[in-house]
């Protein structure tokens, strides 16, 4: 590479120096990246079945230990309901990577606010409910689920629902499916429409 040094002209050197300056001036403006808030992440979902006639609520939750990481979610138990009892089910969604109280911590609020593009669908097995009857509305939007909360277009959302446990002993699974349906939610849009924000399956027992 000696060749370079011997024949380099002043113009060439000038160009090199100029380019070095450009690189320095542009390249040195580096600092540590800013931490992003991650409001979309749901790391914890809690289902609370409160008996309408009073009594202890049944609470189960599913927790994601590592967000986008490879570890599976952990469910802390089965939903144990009492025969013939009517419950109000409230669903609470949290992003525990955000500090409690900060915006983005409660995903429930967001779903509420954007009710017109969200809907929670339910399905269950083992005839665990007296009311509604059937197996839920994931397979068929028209099937019975007793929604309490409605969006701005008077369509169901599903953060609050009512359920009456079977009058006899029963066991099965209970699936909760939250769909994001921007510009897609209609009176008939089913569970196949839109992107999934939440899809959880719990074990359910009625005793």
């Amino acid at each position: 590479m000696k060749i370079f040094i011997h024949t380099s002209s002043s113009r060439f050197q000038f160009l090199l120096i100029w380019i070095a300056l450009v690189i320095l001036s542009v390249g040195c403006s580096k600092d540590d990246p800013k931490k992003e808030d991650t409001p979309e992440l749901i790391t914890k979902a809690t289902l609370t079945f409160t008996p309408t006639g009073g009594g202890t609520a049944v609470v189960v939750s599913a927790t994601d230990p590592d967000g986008e990481g490879v570890q599976n979610i952990a469910v802390d138990g089965a939903i144990d309901l009492v025969m013939g009892t009517q419950y109000v089910l409230t669903i609470d969604l949290l992003n525990t990577l955000v500090t409690a109280g900060q915006p983005g911590y409660s995903i429930t609020e967001e779903v509420e606010e954007e009710g017109d593009e969200h809907m929670i669908f339910f399905s269950w097995t083992g005839d665990v409910f007296q009311v509604p009857s059937g197996n839920g509305n994931i397979d068929n939007r028209g099937d019975a689920v007793d929604y309490v909360d409605l969006d701005g277009n008077s369509r169901p959302v599903g953060l609050i629902t009512t359920w009456t446990a079977s009058s006899s002993v029963a066991a099965g699974t209970f699936r909760v499916l939250l769909k994001h349906q921007p510009d897609l939610k209609t009176d008939t849009s089913g569970s196949a429409v839109g992107e999934t924000d939440l899809d959880l399956t719990f074990t359910i027992n009625v005793n």
Binding site: L15, I19, G27, P33, Q71, N72, E195
Partner: protein, 797 residues
């Protein structure tokens, strides 16, 4: 349409009137080949844009010339272009014997800096008529016309070029002599180049592009502009293209000239605007596949005998919609999306581009210069590129307006080289390249960045030589490269991590070529190239646009997701050993070129399916970047056969087999075998042509096993491993069946005064077939595009 025609007609007459000059001289002559008169050769006087074609006796006449000196250019397919000077009035007719073309260096020279492809390199060129045929298409789609080149697609607007089965990081793109640096790691990140800036595009299929640094494991794509004018005067062109599918329109204009009284100075400005709405498959609209593109470039330069310098700036900007039906979350969504036809969210045609979409901008500034000194020539080149990529998904919580990925990539490149030739005709070139690159996530995406921030510095010296040895020409080259990364990112728990990495290695190539008589030529090339890993391959984390899969980088721990140090994994840099042999047979009637190749890539990095993971949103398959050894072997062949002076037959074949040789497995998204054949019927003047074409794409039988989503769900329900305990590659869907497409093009060109019009009417997928292409990611969700009729008109002056 009628309006357009009337404009053309009016234009036509205006120019005719303008052409009424008192010049009545003419140039006449005869063009011959070794075996007799050559009919249909183009004879052109570029300075006044007049031309003619030879008749059956090889005779031509160009009329209405003023007295003076003219440069005559004679062109004929398969022959070397000849340039001669004639004085008008003529003392005797021109007589010229043309010699068959040996596809040599001349085609590949870029203005001052010899962007030269070695004589023994195996390459294909897209220029002239062929380039005009692809006008209005993206760079990747244009290159499909070349044997051995195919694409991977993410819908009708996003094409990435694939050379001999490999793409992205393994294909180097040189735009105006500068390594294109964008976010090329993503399979749905197309090259940010407007093909209208090119006068030729060369695809080098050898592995080591010694002069340009690392990464060219598959090959190099060289985008060449025409040389800048050096004499006073002005010229230019306007190109308009209308297409039925997507109801798209594109306009591209170019103006160039020299500067009066400043010999050697030249300039060029160029711009392209393109707008397309939703494309259409045979049976339904492909909702949200529109394109909005706007590009411009400007160049200026000075060229004298011993010194030359150029400045070039280009801006590229595009907005691309991604099929609405691909906006999915987990496995069940994917299953629904695959089963639903027409795709979910399909609506009527619209020009609107909604989420999901990409917005990409790319700027390039280049300054280059050369000096001829005693003993040799110096070249120095500096390039600055800035690349901005925003990807928008459908998001909750009013976040859709925020990009999910927002990246800024700034790259400086600097190159210096010295070229010299000794008395024995041996050529040497020594040089040095350096690159400084900064990748930054623009804050505000409200998501953990998919790839981290990093600074990369790389560079190295090289030496290449060319030696005539008897009948053979030998090309050898070697280089040493170093790349360092300074990485800062956030892991799954949103905790900061940093890393410093250093890679270095040597590349080398050797090639030989030889002509046997006038008809045969053989080229052999053996090259060894390496590639430092891309940061995306090491640290990716998360779900990527339209893929219901989570991707993990090589350095993320299998069970804890912790970012590991590179010393904790058995990582080795990717290295390729590629052997390519080409045979050419060239006569007036037949030109045949056949290339066979074998490319073994050791420590090949790819996304391997590993299993399923559940989070609150449901079940996802996950993929991890892994290393294996892969073998790509195949054959490309092309034949042009002139049945008569007016009818020619073309046939092309590209065959490829790609295997994971470490695990005896197939790789996914490998282009299947394809064949193309066509006729071209020309009028005796060569001004008019009709060109029917048929292409057949075979089904990809060398595809990995299939695990359907139904099987996935059954396994999850039964608590078994859906991958059957095997880390063999898989695909969610069978490879689609093979398909055959017909096309037809009709063209006419005519000279008007100082200018030339080129009109073309073409139909692709003439019979409006419904089909799916294996290498198009859209194949999971929707058919490929249906019939497309396009009309293009080019005016050159």
């Amino acid at each position: 349409m009628r309006f357009l025609v009337s404009i053309i007609v009016v234009f036509h007459f205006t120019l005719l009137v303008k052409a009424q000059q008192p010049c009545t001289q003419s140039v006449a002559g005869r063009i011959l080949s070794a075996s007799g008169p050559l009919s249909g050769a183009d004879v052109i006087i570029t300075s006044v844009s007049k031309g003619s074609a030879t008749n059956d006796h090889g005779d031509f006449v160009i009329r209405d010339l003023c007295p003076g000196e003219y440069v005559l250019e004679v062109r004929f397919v398969g022959f070397e272009t000849r340039v001669i000077t004639v004085v008008v009035p003529q003392s005797k007719p021109v007589e010229l014997v043309m010699s068959p073309e040996s596809k040599n260096l001349n085609e590949v020279i870029v203005q001052e800096k010899l962007e030269q492809v070695d004589r023994s390199a195996n390459y294909a060129v897209l220029s002239g008529t062929q380039l005009q045929e692809t006008a209005g298409k993206s760079l990747g789609e244009s290159l499909k016309a070349l044997p051995g080149v195919s694409t991977i697609q993410a819908g009708p607007g996003i094409f990435k070029p694939v050379i001999h089965g490999v793409h992205s990081q393994r294909v180097l793109i040189l735009n105006h002599g500068i390594r294109q640096e964008g976010q090329q790691w993503g399979a749905e990140h197309a090259p940010e180049i407007d093909p209208f800036i090119a006068s030729s595009i060369v695809v080098v299929k050898d592995a080591a592009a010694i002069k340009y640094g690392t990464d060219a494991l598959g090959g190099v794509i060289v985008v060449n502009p025409a040389p800048l004018p050096e004499k006073a005067g002005m010229g230019g062109s306007v190109n308009t293209i209308l297409q039925s599918n997507g109801r798209s329109g594109a306009v591209s204009g170019m103006l160039e000239g020299g500067v009066k009284n400043f010999e050697g100075w030249g300039w060029r400005v160029q711009g392209t605007a393109k707008r397309s709405g939703d494309f259409h498959a045979r049976d339904y609209s492909l909702t949200n596949t529109g394109i909005k593109e706007f590009d411009f470039s400007a160049a200026a330069g000075y060229h004298a005998e011993k010194f030359g310098a150029d400045v070039f700036f280009s801006h590229f900007q595009t907005e691309l919609g991604i099929l609405r039906g691909t906006a999915i979350s987990n496995l069940n969504d994917l299953e629904t999306a695959m089963e639903t036809e027409p795709p979910i969210g399909t609506t009527n045609f619209s020009y609107a581009i909604n989420h999901p979409k990409q917005q990409v901008a790319h700027n390039l500034l280049k300054i280059n210069s050369h000096w001829e000194r005693p003993g040799g020539e110096w070249h120095v080149q500096y390039g600055y590129q800035s690349n901005f990529r925003k990807e928008y998904d459908i998001r909750r919580g009013g976040l859709s307006e925020l990009p999910s990925i927002d990246l800024e990539l700034r790259t400086h490149t600097l190159e210096a080289e010295f070229e010299t030739t000794n008395a024995k005709g041996q050529q040497f070139c020594f040089g040095l390249n350096g690159m400084y690159q900064d990748n930054r996530n623009v804050p505000g995406t409200q998501r953990i960045p998919f790839i981290p921030n990093y600074t990369a510095i790389s560079g190295g010296p090289f030496a290449v030589g060319k030696f005539p040895i008897g009948q053979w020409t030998l090309d050898v080259g070697t280089r040493y490269d170093l790349r360092s990364y300074d990485v800062v990112g956030f892991d799954f728990s949103n905790t900061l991590y940093t890393a410093n990495l250093l890679f270095h290695n040597v590349s080398a190539s050797a090639g030989m070529s030889r002509k046997f008589g006038q008809k045969h030529q053989v080229k052999l090339n053996l090259s060894s190239a390496w590639r430092p890993p891309h940061v995306a391959e090491l640290y990716s984390l998360g779900t990527h646009q339209s893929a219901a899969a989570i991707e993990y980088g090589l350095l993320l721990n299998d069970s804890t997701n912790r970012v590991m140090d590179i010393s904790e994994v058995p990582f080795k840099v990717e290295q390729a050993l590629k052997a390519v042999a080409t045979y050419q047979y060239t006569t007036e009637r037949i030109q045949v070129e056949a290339t066979v190749y074998s490319n073994t890539i050791f420590n090949f990095i790819y996304l391997q399916p590993r299993g399923v993971t559940t989070n609150i949103r449901g079940t996802y398959p996950y993929f991890r970047y892994t290393q294996t050894d892969a073998l790509f072997a195949g054959l490309d062949a092309e034949m042009d056969y002139n049945l008569s002076s007016r009818i020619s037959l073309t046939a092309k074949v590209s065959l490829l087999s790609a295997t994971d040789i470490r695990h005896d497995d197939y790789l996914v998204f490998i282009p299947s075998n394809r064949f193309e054949t066509g006729f071209r019927f020309s009028s005796s003047s060569k001004r008019f042509f009709v060109q029917p074409k048929v292409s057949f794409v075979a089904r990809q039988f060398r595809a990995p096993r299939v695990i359907t989503i139904g099987e996935f769900n059954d396994a999850i329900e039964n608590g078994t491993d859906p991958l059957g305990g095997s880390s063999k590659n898989f695909d969610f869907m069978e490879a689609p069946p093979g398909y055959m497409l017909a096309g037809l093009a009709i063209g006419y060109e005519w000279l008007v005064g100082q200018g030339k019009f080129d009109a073309r009417l073409a139909a692709e997928n003439l019979f409006n077939n419904a089909y799916r292409e294996y290498t198009n990611r859209l194949r999971y969700y929707a058919d490929d595009i249906g019939r497309n009729v396009s009309f293009s008109l080019k005016y050159t002056f």
